[in-house]
């Protein structure tokens, strides 16, 4: 169980992460490695960096300020060695063009609460609230539960977006009492295929889903399937998913999500200039 997450985005005014207008908090780190992931920067639990070469002025300011000397800039090549980074953020702050972005930041609890409460008027106007997303937010049950509890005390509804790969008992105890809605990904029914495309078996995921639908009927459970061409959108897979959902009384809530290819560019940005063997060439 991870304790303190890195948060890699707080996105306001969203309509597709539960009911109404919502703020989504993206927690970094995921036990799955879906080949199609559109948030590849969310996979690792550690700091990542994204470098947008089109914005980089090659001024070298980032290299000059890094206290650990992790950024190499020799006038020809520019790269960052993130393995030893402690996330101080000085490099991104110094970058005038906004080319270098640090992915993941620790938020003191009070600062996070303040950010999440900012859009209260919009939540109230739309039955909206806060959605924990990721990565896999339920890798951090203690943290999510703590924040969701405080939100609930403020009268703000919280939801969770999950891949289903979590420790049920922990989540049951720490998170479920404080949330109203779980948006639950059911991606692939075939176990081997699931391992092939996500890196893990779906056994735990399906098991957790069954328990959630039976034991926590007061929580709105919305199963969702991303339609990835040739992988999840096959006739057989969708039929199997529907059967599984029908068995658990959740077929009518099923939502299909269109696939978008935003992950490809992000993967490029995550690598270029950051892997030593993939520097920015000047």
């Amino acid at each position: 169980m991870h304790k303190e997450p890195l948060i890699f985005d707080i996105s306001k005014g969203r309509l597709d992460d539960g009911e109404g207008i919502r703020t989504a908090v993206f927690l970094k780190g995921c036990p799955l490695r879906c080949t199609w992931c559109h948030n590849p920067e969310s996979g690792s639990f550690a700091y990542d960096f994204m470098w947008d070469g089109s914005k980089c002025l090659l001024c070298g300011d980032c290299a000059a300020v890094c206290p650990r000397g992790l950024i190499g800039f020799d006038g020809e090549k520019l790269y960052l060695d993130k393995a030893y980074c402690d996330g101080c953020g000085k490099c991104t702050m110094s970058c005038p063009g906004g080319a270098l972005r640090q992915i993941g930041r620790k938020y003191p609890e009070e600062e996070l609460m303040e950010l999440l409460l900012r859009d209260r008027v919009f939540y109230e106007a739309s039955n909206g609230g806060v959605t924990f997303s990721g990565g896999e937010p339920l890798c951090f049950p203690e943290f999510v539960g703590k924040i969701a509890k405080r939100l609930k005390e403020q009268g703000i509804s919280a939801a969770v977006e999950t891949c289903g790969f979590f420790e049920y008992e922990d989540v049951q105890e720490m998170v479920l009492p404080y949330i109203d809605c779980v948006l639950y990904d059911i991606k692939i029914m075939d176990r081997q295929e699931h391992i092939k495309h996500t890196g893990v078996s779906n056994e735990k995921i399906l098991h957790n889903f069954r328990r959630l639908s039976k034991e926590n009927t007061d929580i709105r459970l919305i199963p969702r399937t991303p339609l990835v061409p040739g992988i999840t959108d096959t006739e057989k897979n969708l039929r199997d998913i529907r059967r599984f959902l029908a068995e658990n009384g959740k077929l009518s809530a099923h939502v299909l999500l269109p696939y978008h290819s935003g992950g490809i560019r992000k993967r490029e940005l995550l690598r270029t200039g950051i892997d030593r063997d993939c520097p920015i060439n000047i």
């Binding site: 996105s11 306001k12 005014g13 969203r14 309509l15 597709d16 109404g20 207008i21 914005k55 002025l57 001024c59 005038p96 063009g97 906004g98 900012r118 859009d119 008027v121 919009f122 109230e124 106007a125 739309s126 909206g128």
Partner: protein, 810 residues
């Protein structure tokens, strides 16, 4: 109290095809070329020449009444198309009337070219050109408002600043207008009753008062003569008409024009006709700029209700009449010389109609007619009238809110949304009685007025805030005017020790510029009082008939003057940039920053990237908390409120820009926020393009400015890629609810993507009538100049699902 009895508030069964002849009228009006009309100028000038200036000097109000009545009595009765309403603003189906008292002379050098110019030509016949050249313009050359002001005061600094065109626009040289008349009295009593009242009051009073009442009677008689002429023309046409249906319409028209505005309106048809005829009358007297019909769903409702109850009117007939009025409000445009065309082209006259909101008692005022008007607006998708929907969260229904959102989604642009809670509060804070504040309507673009009671001259000053900022940067000079000293010497910024010193310099320059603009406005107002009293408009207003005083002398119940601001967001961001770069982070010296600005950031990519990315940006939560935007708003409010105008009212700051943010931007050099030379400024109260990445933060930042300090009104432009369904429209409604609860006053939308607008610019033929919101009013995209088109294209575009701006990859 509003009543909604409609089964379907969307009125889906009434499409354009179901309304008789409306599609033809609409298309006809859209395709009709603009004709410059000299008829009014001819009659007014003729009267002036005959009667000389002595009469004007001694009896200004009466003199004006006689001149306008002369025109109205002789005005050609034109019933040009199948519209159910008789009469036209000018002598053509679509006219650009010449008002030589104001800026009518600006086309003098273009008489031979204006008909043939490429962009938005205005057709001028040879005969009309000769009339202007030989009979009309020579008379006015030293007599129009500006010339008269110069004659009296010489070429003083405020006039020099005006004529530079890069500091402020003092609208009094070109108009007053900008007002919402009161139609309730003339509808209920008829003009003859007002004439009788005026004549009786004239009997019992002396001097100016007596003259004012005589003037009211005189000018209204002129209007009745015009209605009579229309009636006769309709009868004549009916005699010639072969189509039976049209003959009947013409005979009905003849009857109606005999009945109103002379007598009380007996029903909906007469009421709509009465309002149209009064609007023609007002335009005979006052220039066609933002004469706003006001709360027509409220004013017309008793007549609609009565007819519906008596079974003498159907929903379809009511919608046809509304459509006819909507189309008619676009029967005139402003006369636009080439230079204005380049800077400000594409503007309509912004006749604002306001629907919804609460009534004088504070109760939900939405009624069936509100929905009829929304449906007609949705079907016509036209520039005129400028449609505005009031919304009182908690008092108006969610169904109404969402219905307005649907109309926005379907027209892609209108109506604009107004927050009753904030707007009523700000008017009450200006001394308006609560019940009068609740009865507010929008003037022109976005300005607020207690309808028919408050004379606000809301476009008195259009101030370029970046002019003051630049003068702070260059010690009282402007970049493009070189060594010429305008403002006070507030010191060399290079020698300033802290940000507060620079902020003080900016405030000093701003206060100085405001003082110049106010001084000029007051001086021109005195000229207006001599030359341009408004007895006809005064008769259609609350106050003048009671006080015996024309509007320009302070006759209205409430008075104010409006001053709007161009470049607010760019100035806020520039001040934030100076603070961060020079004084907080010491990223560069003030000298280096000014040097980069002077060279338009050439070879300064790094500094440019820094000022664009690092300083606080208006439109974000951090800026609201720690930035300068709220302080500027407060400073301007306090400065303006320190002035009392010639009618006894206060000056009210506002933030709408029409196309001025594009026009003024085109002639303003680079700024420290990274805006490069000659590019448009952000519009109205809207954050700089791409500065506010999060939609809800943008809304909250604008809401946090405090509407009490924005009594003149504001225009916030928000662009969405798409709103495709009713569900999404309802969610748009939720965003608006949240924005209004954050304190926002107004918001208007464009539902269109970067790509679509680029396509429209490249292939205008594919988008013949594309309606867009500019800043406070609508325009047809194809009428706009390229600078303005580019401004629209590069505006921040939000994806309604993600709540964030969509990057513009071109």
């Amino acid at each position: 109290m509003g009543e909604v009895t409609l089964k379907d508030i969307r009125l889906e069964e009434y499409g354009l095809e179901e309304l008789d002849g409306i599609r033809e009228l609409r298309d006809g009006m859209l395709r009709e070329p603009v004709h410059i009309c000299t008829e009014r100028a001819w009659y007014i000038t003729e009267y002036m020449k005959e009667h000389g200036e002595e009469e004007m000097e001694e009896h200004p109000v009466l003199y004006r009444a006689r001149a306008v009545a002369r025109y109205l009595g002789n005005k050609k009765a034109v019933i040009p198309d199948g519209n159910l309403l008789a009469g036209t603003t000018g002598a053509y189906l679509k006219s650009a009337p010449v008002y030589p008292e104001f800026i009518g002379l600006t086309i003098w050098s273009e008489l031979e070219t204006i008909s043939g110019r490429k962009k938005n030509p205005q057709l001028l016949t040879k005969e009309d050109a000769e009339r202007l050249n030989f009979d009309i313009y020579p008379y006015w050359i030293d007599r129009d408002v500006l010339a008269s002001t110069k004659k009296k005061h010489g070429n003083i600094m405020p006039i020099r600043l005006l004529e530079k065109m890069i500091f402020y626009v003092s609208s009094k040289a070109g108009c007053i207008s900008h007002t919402v008349p009161d139609f309730k009295r003339v509808l209920a009593q008829g003009a003859e009753a007002i004439i009788r009242e005026a004549e009786e009051k004239a009997e019992g009073s002396i001097r100016e008062e007596k003259e004012f009442y005589q003037a009211v009677a005189t000018v209204l008689k002129g209007l009745l003569k015009y209605a009579e002429n229309l009636s006769e023309e309709a009868r004549r046409l009916a005699g010639e008409e072969k189509d039976e249906k049209r003959r009947e319409q013409l005979l009905e028209m003849a009857k109606v024009c005999r009945a109103v505005p002379a007598n009380p309106a007996s029903g909906f048809r007469e009421a709509v006709n009465c309002i149209w005829l009064c609007l023609i009358g007002i335009h005979a007297e006052n220039i066609n700029m933002a004469i706003s019909p006001g709360r027509l769903d409220q004013v017309l409702y008793p007549y609609y209700k009565k007819d519906m109850e008596e079974g003498t009117l159907t929903v379809k007939e009511a919608m046809e009449l509304i459509a006819c009025l909507w189309i008619k409000t676009g029967d005139n445009v402003d006369l636009v010389p080439q230079v204005s065309e380049e800077l400000f082209g594409g503007a309509g006259t912004a006749p604002a109609v306001t629907v919804g909101g609460v009534d004088e008692e504070g109760k939900d005022a939405v009624n069936d007619l509100t929905y009829l008007m929304l449906r007609v607006t949705e079907l016509l998708k036209m520039r005129e009238p400028n449609m505005n929907a009031r919304y009182y969260p908690g008092r108006n229904t969610i169904e109404y809110r969402n219905r307005v959102s649907e109309v926005i989604a379907s027209t892609k642009a209108v109506p604009a949304f107004y927050n009753d809670i904030e707007n009523i509060k700000t008017l009450v804070n200006q001394g308006t009685l609560e019940e009068h504040a609740r009865d507010y309507a929008v003037i022109g673009c976005v300005e607020l007025a207690s309808a028919g009671r408050s004379y606000d001259a809301s476009s008195s000053i259009i101030m370029n805030l970046t002019a003051a900022f630049e003068m702070a940067l260059y010690n009282g000079k402007r970049y493009i005017t070189g060594e010429e000293q305008f403002g006070p010497k507030t010191g060399e910024p290079e020698k300033m020790e802290n940000f507060e010193q620079f902020l003080e310099a900016f405030k000093t320059q701003t206060a100085w510029l405001i003082d110049q603009a106010v001084d000029l406005n007051e001086k021109m107002a005195k000229i207006h009082q001599k030359m341009l009293p408004t007895p006809l408009l005064s008769a259609l207003f609350e106050g003048p008939m009671e006080k015996g005083k024309d509007l320009v002398f302070g006759g209205a119940v409430y008075n104010s003057s409006g001053a709007t601001h161009v470049g607010f967001a760019d100035v806020a961001d520039s001040l934030n940039a100076v603070k961060k770069a020079v004084f907080e982070e010491h990223y560069c010296t003030f000298g280096e920053l000014i040097d980069a600005v002077r060279h338009n950031f050439e070879n300064q990519d790094k500094l440019l990237a820094y000022v664009k990315n690092k300083p606080l940006k208006y439109g974000t939560a951090e800026e609201t908390e720690n930035g300068i935007s709220r302080e500027i708003i407060r400073f301007l409010y306090e400065t303006y409120q320190g002035y009392t105008n010639y009618r006894g009212g206060k000056y009210r700051p506002a933030y709408w820009t029409m196309t001025n943010h594009s026009g003024q931007g085109k002639i303003t050099y680079a700024l420290p926020n990274g805006r490069k030379a000659n590019l448009p400024f952000a519009s109205g109260i809207t954050p700089v393009s791409e500065a506010a990445a999060d939609l809800t933060e943008c809304f909250r930042s604008v809401g946090a400015l405090n509407s009490l300090y924005i009594p003149g009104g504001e225009a916030l432009n928000i662009k969405f890629t798409n709103i495709a369904s009713r569900e999404e429209a309802a969610l748009l409604g939720s965003f608006i609810e949240g924005y209004f609860k954050s304190g926002g006053q107004q918001v208007q939308f464009n539902i269109m993507s970067h790509e679509m607008l680029r396509d429209a610019k490249a292939h205008p033929e594919k988008y013949p009538d594309l309606l867009v919101r500019v800043s406070g009013y609508s325009a047809y995209f194809n009428d706009l100049n390229d600078t303005m088109k580019d401004e629209l294209i590069t505006r921040t575009e939000y994806d309604i699902h993600g709540g964030r701006m969509v990057p513009d990859y071109v």
